[in-house]
């Protein structure tokens, strides 16, 4: 490397960077020419934050020169950050809204591109000592939606042992959560929630509260089940079969409360980001999805990509 006499520190730095990239381009170079780590910013859905963190950790083994920084905040928060160009990949547990697509093209001139990376089945949780085993969407709506009449377990014909006041403790999510919107759309038919539910700020908190409260009912990702709670079988309507939240039931769409999990990028992904998403869609990435308690893509869905 030629040295310009009396060159400023900045010029020298530029020279170093040029030398570094040259070394990378040549695929060789000494130990001093180690390339800097590529950092991928990843933000979004709280439902997906656990699986995204495991992805990031596992991917470090596959590609040591790429660092994926994962944070949560909610699907809307992640997409908003993507549209501002603050992150490379947004995780979303709902579809992107037309208004968000519009905002993206207005802000950056690029279209958001989405990839389905797995499925989440929302489970309806009750305390493990609650004798109730199954519920219809109609009953859920009576319980949760505005104007619904059900306020006590006895009205559902349920007698909880050792409880004198059987008022149902409804556990819900704060209105910014993708889980909240998903439940409103799929279980309540887009009717509003009845006020007075405990609106918690995380998927795990819902399961924890239900697990410690005999008279509670709540909804959360099925990956969050603990021994203290029980998942109810759900029927789409009265008279239809009750279906437990299982992998097979999510794939064949017989389970009513299932949704796709997406990652979004601005424009077609390039370079390191593309490699990362391809890895997520590979068998290795999908194994992480399964181990995190979610439902991976079926083999033919994987083949489509």
């Amino acid at each position: 490397m030629t040295r310009v006499p009396g060159s400023s520190p900045r010029l020298r730095l530029l020279g170093l960077v040029a030398a570094g990239s040259l070394a990378v381009a040549c695929g060789g170079g000494g130990p001093a020419a180690k390339p800097a780590k590529t950092v991928i910013q990843n933000k979004g859905s709280d439902t997906m934050v656990n699986v995204a963190q495991v992805w990031a950790e596992e991917y470090r083994k596959a590609a040591p020169d790429v660092e994926v920084e994962v944070s949560g905040g909610g699907s809307g928060v992640g997409l908003a950050a993507l549209l501002k160009g603050a992150v490379d990949i947004a995780n979303a547990s709902r579809d992107i809204k037309p208004s968000e697509v519009e905002q993206a093209s207005k802000n950056t001139g690029k279209q958001p591109v989405g990839f389905t990376v797995g499925f989440d089945a929302l489970a309806v949780y009750v305390h493990k000592d609650n004798p109730l085993g199954e519920i219809t969407l109609e009953q859920l709506s009576d319980l949760y939606a505005e104007g619904g009449k059900v306020a006590r377990w006895s009205e559902l014909g349920v007698k909880i042992p050792g409880v004198t006041d059987d008022t149902i403790v409804r556990v819900s999510r704060q209105s910014s959560s993708g889980t909240y919107e998903f439940f409103r759309e799929h279980a309540l038919g887009n009717k509003d929630f009845r006020l007075g539910s405990r609106d918690l700020s995380g998927s795990k908190e819902v399961v924890e509260l239900v697990g410690s409260t005999l008279t509670a009912i709540g909804y959360s990702g099925m990956g969050y089940a603990t021994p203290a709670v029980k998942m109810l079988k759900v029927a789409k309507a009265k008279g239809e079969p009750f279906v437990a939240p299982t992998v097979a039931a999510v794939h064949d769409k017989s389970y009513a409360l299932a949704r796709s999990l997406h990652v979004y990028t601005l424009g077609e992904p390039q370079g390191a980001v593309k490699a990362y998403i391809d890895w997520i869609l590979s068998d290795a990435g999908q194994k992480v999805v399964e181990e995190s308690g979610y439902v991976p893509l079926s083999p033919d869905q994987r083949a489509k990509r």
Partner: protein, 311 residues
């Protein structure tokens, strides 16, 4: 920096100051004045910017101020019928604050009396440091205590179905406002001249009679100011109540009901409300409402503090 070539001529001549020194002093004076006024500027600017974000929604047809203030229906993200009623949230804030004060005022004023009148000097120093430490605990830590320790305690002692409720939030807020009440209250009691105490004792009053009949009436204004500052702390607290009150939009019927406060609602929803949307602006309007409440409380406290100074 200011060489003065002319030597002092005679002792009767006043010391000559260079233009530099005079200007420098003026500049310094202006700077000091500016920092004094800056507090007012900042408060006014904060109020202005919060209100400016909120203002466009005020003139919209579908927005009604009556609904905002007096309706209990808070549906900011409804798919069919959006409603912005903050009454349940205001009641939530007021109920938690009221409970906090019911707990904190006797403890706070009691501790202030003990520290100022009964306590040995060494114990006082230890206690004061501990109380100051109490006020240094971050509110998220208080919230965590509410969410875990206090919540379990409430469930096991009262049999309530859920431990995050008005009672939990009230106790946590009481613990947070006690240090404020103690330190201001102690100052107020200390400000009572010793001649009052001496006169009381000379008339044969017991120490309790002295406190009850002489000191409390004499320090009344300062103690009230201490309580109101405690109220201001409780009304404005966000993180701890977000975690400890259960976050349910609901007018509480008992101490064991969950509520949501104005502050917690802003903290939980502002991150997700798209900038410039009605929801976003209504949240800023909620901020303005909160600002007016705390402003009124602090102003009241200030008037009472002035009350003692004038004596």
């Amino acid at each position: 920096m200011s060489p003065d070539p002319s030597p002092p001529a005679a002792t009767t001549v006043r010391p000559h100051r260079s233009a530099w020194a005079v200007q420098g002093e003026r500049a310094l004076e202006a700077l000091v004045r500016l920092s004094g006024v800056s507090a007012i500027v900042f408060v006014a600017a904060i109020f202005f910017f919060v209100l400016r974000e909120a203002a466009p929604v005020l003139v919209k047809d579908e927005f009604s101020l009556g609904q905002f203030l007096f309706s209990t229906e808070w549906y900011p993200t409804s798919a069919s019928n959006v409603r912005y009623g903050t009454f349940a949230l205001t009641v939530g804030t007021l109920s938690v604050t009221a409970l906090a004060m019911v707990i904190a005022v006797p403890f706070g004023i009691g501790a202030a009396i003990y520290l100022s009148e009964f306590c040995a000097p060494r114990v006082r120093e230890t206690l004061k440091i501990t109380i100051e430490l109490l006020s240094a605990i971050p509110s998220v830590v208080w919230g965590f205590i509410g969410l875990t320790v206090m919540s379990r305690l409430i469930v096991s002692t009262t049999g309530a179905p859920v431990g995050v409720n008005v009672l939990n939030g009230g106790i946590i807020l009481a613990l947070m406002s006690v240090p404020v009440i103690v330190s201001i209250g102690e100052d107020a009691l200390k400000a009572v001249p010793d001649s009052y105490r001496e006169a009381g004792l000379a008339l044969g009053a017991t120490r309790w009679q002295l406190v009850y009949r002489v000191l409390l009436p004499a320090a009344r204004n300062g103690l009230l100011a201490a309580v109101l500052l405690g109220v201001g702390r409780a009304v404005g607290e966000t993180m701890a109540v977000l975690m400890a009150t259960g976050h349910a939009v609901h007018i509480p019927g008992s101490l064991l009901d969950s509520v949501r406060t104005l502050t917690a609602n802003i903290a939980a929803e502002l991150g997700e409300a798209p900038a410039g949307s009605d929801h976003y602006r209504v949240l800023f309007l909620t901020g303005t409402l909160l600002f007016l409440i705390t402003f009124a409380v602090n102003l009241a406290a200030d008037f009472f503090v002035r009350g003692i100074r004038r004596r």
